[in-house]
């Protein structure tokens, strides 16, 4: 799949925002006044920037208003509804907390649950796709939730929780990659099933339908260099989890270290998300003998 910057930014940044909302909703850290306001603004800002970024990849953003209508079937619609609901509930919760000094715990839990619900719906947009076997697994939502909450923990300075979450990320991300590398083969789809010509022998593409590019190739057939991918995986895991975890474990986390930890995590997160898309192979590539 094409690793579109808008989608990478959307899913990472909004994930961080909603992750932060999770902890703020749970009342962590225990702050108030302008500090609470800053945290809340950060959470709202990240989530909103992320959501706005997601509209950049829309062909016709003016019709985005209809996206709230199809919650019965569409994860994307559900995501939109939950995202807005989360922002609204969290805004009320945060405003009462920061400005009225009245933190309503139940409202916070609700905001936290909605935030995680939003991240879950985001992840389900990908996880539901049978056409992308690498994504079509329960590990996808699990990882999205882990990444969002780990980021939230780091942002909200919940280093112990973060440590646990980062550990889980290393474990499940490694598993996702391991499983993901064989997911396409296990999915049962092949150029032979795609063409129905398997009974004639080994099938290969002789000519593309058009000698030039098209939307399908640009959007869904992104061929990533395997060597680079392997390196990038290591790098992303080091930056997103290993380095932050080590810094938490081995150093006194002051503001500078915290910023290093955050930057490392975010850069690693971008790399992870780039890989998430770039390595995802869509079955339509079978018709082009390219994945």
């Amino acid at each position: 799949m094409h690793p579109a910057p808008s989608v990478i930014i959307f899913s990472t940044i909004s994930g961080l925002g909603f992750g932060l909302m999770l902890f703020l909703g749970l009342g962590l850290p225990d702050v108030s006044g302008w500090v609470a306001a800053t945290f809340a603004t950060l959470a709202l800002g990240l989530a909103t920037i992320g959501l706005l970024a997601s509209t950049f990849h829309l062909g016709k953003p003016k019709n985005a208003i209809y996206a709230f209508s199809q919650w019965k079937t569409s994860w994307l619609s559900r995501e939109g509804i939950l995202a807005v609901l989360t922002l609204v509930v969290f805004f009320i919760y945060a405003a009462l907390w920061a400005f009225m000094d009245n933190r309503i715990a139940m409202l916070g839990y609700l905001a936290a649950a909605l935030a995680m619900g939003t991240v879950f719906t985001t992840s389900m947009i990908y996880a539901q796709l049978k056409t992308v076997p690498r994504w079509n697994t329960a590990v996808t939502p699990l990882l999205f939730l882990l990444y969002a909450s780990a980021g939230g923990a780091l942002l909200s300075n919940q280093m112990t929780v973060a440590l646990v979450l980062l550990g889980l990320i290393i474990a499940f991300q490694a598993m996702a990659w391991f499983q993901g590398d064989t997911a396409f083969a296990r999915s049962g789809s092949s150029i032979e099933t795609a063409t129905g010509l398997g009974n004639l022998g080994k099938v290969r593409l002789l000519e593309k339908p058009h000698s030039g590019k098209n939307y399908l190739l640009q959007e869904m057939v992104y061929v990533v260099g395997r060597k680079h991918a392997a390196k990038l995986r290591v790098l992303s895991l080091v930056l997103v989890a290993l380095l932050p975890a080590l810094l938490i474990l081995l150093t006194e986390v002051n503001h500078v270290v915290a910023i290093v930890i955050l930057l490392s995590h975010i850069v690693g997160l971008f790399a992870q998300r780039w890989l998430f898309f770039a390595q995802a192979e869509h079955v339509v590539g079978l018709y082009y003998d390219a994945r």
């Binding site: 290969r204 002789l206 339908p209 058009h210 000698s211 030039g212």
Partner: protein, 945 residues
């Protein structure tokens, strides 16, 4: 969910304001089209269901006609060159100035030496008119593109059976049970073949495809025979060997309808050796077994012998069939003898021969339709041998293509499957024997018309276009000892001969619709140099070039004067019975084009320009006695010109009352009648006249009524071709007209009255180990020559062309995906991207034809993939063969017809990495675009939303 949640759709939109029906020109097929007009503009094109050619269907090119019509590459006004030739720099001029320049060039030539005008048209569909113009002008140097297209096929057919494939005839798609298709060029009869294949498939017929490359039609064949290029003749003769050996030939048919029983002079060394024995009246004789006497072949009730030496009037002679049988029953043609050369196993050849015999004789079909033959004999039924065949460029574009085409027709004739149900059927005005075709004419008189039509079918050495010294009279050297039967001329030789001044220098080269500086020439790079070349005084060696085209092609850049043509939707045309008609086997048909929209540029239909130019030059047939123009324009000519009294360009609605069919005086309302009828005229042939046409009394009578002939013209198939033997006799020293010494051996070899196979010339002159690979091109079904590239829709399908490499060669050279190859022939080297193809003859590489473009042409951006990753194989092909031992370089063409031997090309390949700039080579300096570049993004149809 219930329905009311679904949006309301308008499922009955009005498509257009009006449908105007005309004839397609996106390739040579000439289908009927419905052009939907909205707000006075062309909106949508679909096939015309009533049209005899395509019956409603339409190919990709046809549907993309909209984009051709709006192509940004359309020329806009007359232009004269201001830069150097090839640069593409022009100045816009008025039509008045354009005519002044043209008249200024052409008038003095006509008065002094008309042959100094070489007028050659390319993909011209009005050859009867352009030829008539050239004839009136008086130059003998006229032809269209047939010489580099498929003249071997046409001449091979005419000299064998009075018709060939495509425009001359077609398989009986409805009844055939076995169909063999040989090396087809897609645009020749493209939709009818596809429709026919669909019918065969639906009827459960078997299709055998003989082609080195398994694409297109070959892909759906039930059996693919991946033959080695240039060996089709050998394969066909081996099939004939097998059929003869098994006695699976239709003797009854051969006796009745062919010259196989004719007695052939066997007195070796005599001037009549190999000619038919005739009586005093000139009738060919057969030996009647019943009376043991020689009688004229048309005598009713004879039982002609098919073998045995007899003596007639003191001359030893034998039936031609025995000569044929003897020739093909030799071991030279056993499957084992040919299998390695052809790349087809002996078992496979035997199996195909058995299939042919089984279907022809065991699955014979009978139609209960009584008919009468030309001798007056009545037949109760029509017997069909449901084996049909088709071939085109693949077998003909070889230096042995003429004899191969003849061999294929003879195979069809031997099993009795020509003009019978289920077999191959002629399309009127064919069948037409050689005798009913014109001879070539070449007597030039300054200030006067030529003494007859330029092109034709020589009957013997006396019809060659040579002077007393044996020197070529035509600039293309057609109808000379080098290629005596060059019935379509040899356009591909014009530029190099004119440049060399051999046989003489010319003054003006006038061309129409022929991209001779690019994909239509062999040896493209050198042809461009020839067009640019100057003499010591700084004058161009080819002094003047006038060119007409509708689009900014590569050739435009090399012309001095441009006469911009219209698109095919803006013009009048006639697809005439005098020309290359559109009839199908069951009917007579012709059609028109008419301006379904008016041009929005200062352009004019080329034929109308010719009419006006002719009038300004005072050409006799184009002016009245008072010197005024006889025809207003081409439309006026189409209606009012009469080639013979009562016979004109269009056959439908003739006569004052509009009831004339084929014959009748001009009808001023004729074009309106065509337009009302969907742009065409069609008459169905009665079932009793629909088969056995050359011998069918009813058909012959009808053909005379329709003006196809002026008298009934039945004939028998000339399996044994006496005319060819006459040339061989000359080469052996008989007669007054003698070939030059250096050609004597070639003429003797090539002019065999019975087809034979010989190795294509190029490969006999090169080291085959050095050039072990065959290199071919084919035309993609979605493109026609270079035209498709200017079409925004079609160019997305074929915007670049790789070289397809067989699995064997791929492995041998260690190619990998993304590699490129250096391809070298004796004529040059190209560097191109490669792709693996398994379903390909092991010794063959190929690519799509005419995708590569010169930068700056066709209004494309300079980074267009066609100019970077597209390429032409043409650079590797020379119009001359490698030097012989005596240092002479002969033309790279068939020694009989002069057909350009495109497919004789041999190359070697070397694996190379992709060049850093991903640019194929050779490359050429860009040409300036006189029409600018096309717009960036488009959304056709937006204005009607």
């Amino acid at each position: 969910m219930t329905k009311h949640h679904q949006p309301q759709l308008d499922t009955s939109p009005v498509v257009s304001d009006e449908i105007r029906q005309t004839t397609c020109y996106m390739c040579a097929c000439r289908c009927g089209i419905n052009v939907h007009i909205k707000d006075g503009k062309v909106k949508y094109i679909e096939g015309n269901r009533d049209h005899p050619v395509n019956k409603g269907v339409l190919c990709a090119k046809g549907s993309a006609g909209v984009m051709q019509h709006y192509a940004p590459s359309r020329l806009r006004n007359p232009m004269k060159r201001v830069g150097e030739r090839g640069e593409g720099k022009f100045e816009d001029i008025s039509w008045e100035e354009a005519f002044d320049i043209a008249v200024g060039l052409l008038k003095p030539i006509r008065e002094k030496d008309p042959k100094k005008l070489a007028f050659f048209t390319g993909r011209d569909q009005s050859q009867s008119m352009t030829g008539w113009w050239a004839q009136n002008y008086g130059t003998l140097n006229y032809a269209a593109h047939g010489g580099f297209c498929s003249v071997n096929m046409a001449a091979g057919g005419i000299y064998t059976m009075g018709g060939a494939f495509w425009e001359f005839g077609a398989p009986d798609w409805d009844r055939a049970k076995l169909f063999l298709i040989f090396g087809v060029a897609e645009d020749h009869d493209s939709n009818p073949i596809k429709m026919g294949l669909g019918k065969l498939k639906a009827n459960g017929a078997k299709i055998i495809a003989v082609n080195p490359i398994r694409t297109g039609y070959n892909a759906i064949a039930d059996e693919w025979v991946g033959i080695t290029p240039g060996t089709d003749g050998l394969f066909i003769l081996s099939l004939i060997h097998e059929l003869l050996k098994a006695g699976k030939v239709d003797l009854n048919y051969l006796i009745r309808y062919t010259n196989m029983p004719f007695l052939v002079n066997q007195v070796e060394g005599s001037a009549e050796y190999g000619l038919f024995v005739r009586d005093a009246e000139g009738n060919q004789l057969v030996w009647d077994r019943a009376t043991s006497k020689a009688v004229p072949y048309e005598t009713r009730g004879t039982k002609p012998a098919m073998s045995g030496m007899v003596e007639v009037n003191g001359v030893q002679c034998r039936p031609a069939f025995e000569l044929l049988a003897e020739k093909y029953l030799t071991d030279e043609y056993t499957p084992e003898a040919v299998e390695e050369r052809c790349g087809i196993s002996a078992a496979r050849i035997r199996s195909i021969a058995a299939d042919i015999a089984r279907v022809a004789f065991d699955e014979e079909i009978t139609l209960d339709i009584p008919w009468t033959d030309w001798k007056g004999e009545k037949h109760e039924t029509m017997t069909g041998r449901p084996v049909a065949m088709h071939a085109m460029r693949g077998i003909s574009a070889h230096s042995n293509g003429f004899q191969t085409a003849r061999a294929l027709h003879i195979l069809q004739i031997l099993i009795g499957s020509v003009e019978v149900p289920g077999g191959f059927r002629f399309k009127p005005p064919y069948p037409k024997s050689v005798e009913d075709h014109p001879k070539p004419h070449h007597d030039v008189t300054p200030g006067a018309p030529l003494n007859g039509p330029h092109l034709g079918y020589p009957r013997g050495p006396e019809d060659l276009c040579i002077d007393e010294d044996g020197k070529a009279k035509r600039i293309d050297k057609a109808f000379t000892w080098e290629n005596p039967l060059s019935a379509h001329g040899m356009m591909h030789m014009v530029i190099s001969n004119a440049h060399a001044g051999d046989p003489y220098k010319i003054d003006t080269l006038f061309m129409y619709m022929a991209n001779m500086s690019w994909n239509s020439s062999m040896n493209t790079s050198q042809v461009m140099d020839m067009l640019r070349d100057k003499d010591e005084d700084g004058n161009y060696i080819i002094p003047n070039i006038i060119y007409s085209d509708a689009y900014s092609s590569e050739m435009v850049a090399f012309a001095d004067l441009i006469l911009p043509d219209t698109t095919y939707l803006e013009r009048h045309d006639c697809i005439s019975l005098l020309d290359r008609p559109i009839c199908e086997a069951d009917g007579l048909a012709d059609s028109i084009r008419w301006p379904v929209v008016e041009p929005d540029r200062d352009v004019r239909g080329f034929q109308s320009v010719l009419i006006e130019l002719g009038a300004r030059l005072g050409l006799p047939a184009m002016v009245n006695e008072d010197g005024s123009a006889k025809f207003k324009d081409y439309a006026d000519y189409i209606v009012n010109h009469e080639r013979r009294p009562g016979v004109g360009p269009l056959a439908g609605w003739r006569g004052k009352d509009g009831k004339g069919k084929g014959r009748g005086e001009p009808n001023p309302k004729q074009l309106n009648k065509y337009i009302e009828n969907g742009g065409f005229w069609h008459e169905q042939i009665k079932p009793e006249n629909a088969f056995y046409k050359p011998w069918n009394k009813g058909y012959q009578e009808w053909a005379v009524e329709r003006g196809i002939f002026d008298k009934e013209s039945p004939y028998v198939f000339t399996v044994y071709q006496e005319i060819i033997q006459k040339f061989r006799l000359a080469a052996e020293g008989h007669g007054d007209i003698q070939p030059p010494e250096h050609l004597r051996a070639q003429v003797k070899m090539a002019m065999d009255p019975l087809p034979f196979w010989y190795e294509p010339f190029e490969q006999t002159l090169i080291n085959k180990d050095e050039y072990p690979i065959h290199a071919l091109t084919q035309r993609p079904m979605a493109m026609y020559h270079s035209w498709g590239t200017q079409n925004a829709w079609l160019r997305q399908i074929h915007g670049r062309n790789p070289l397809f490499i067989s699995g064997e060669l791929w492995a041998e050279h260690g190619f990998a995906e993304g590699d490129w190859a250096q391809v070298t022939s004796p004529n040059g080297t190209i560097t191109v991207p490669v792709v693996l193809m398994e379903a390909l003859n092991a010794k063959t590489v190929w690519t799509w034809n005419a995708i590569g473009k010169r930068k700056g042409a066709w209004a494309l951006g300079e980074d267009a993939p066609e100019t970077k990753e597209g390429f032409l194989l043409n650079h590797l092909i020379s119009e001359l063969l490698p030097a012989k031992k005596d240092g002479q370089r002969w033309s790279n063409s068939d020694p009989v017809t002069g057909q350009a031997a495109w497919f004789d090309l041999r190359v070697n390949i070397k694996r190379v990495g992709a060049p850093a700039d991903l640019q194929t080579s050779p490359t050429f300096a860009p040409q300036a675009s006189p029409v600018g570049k096309g717009p960036k993004d488009i959304a056709f149809g937006e204005e009607w939303k």
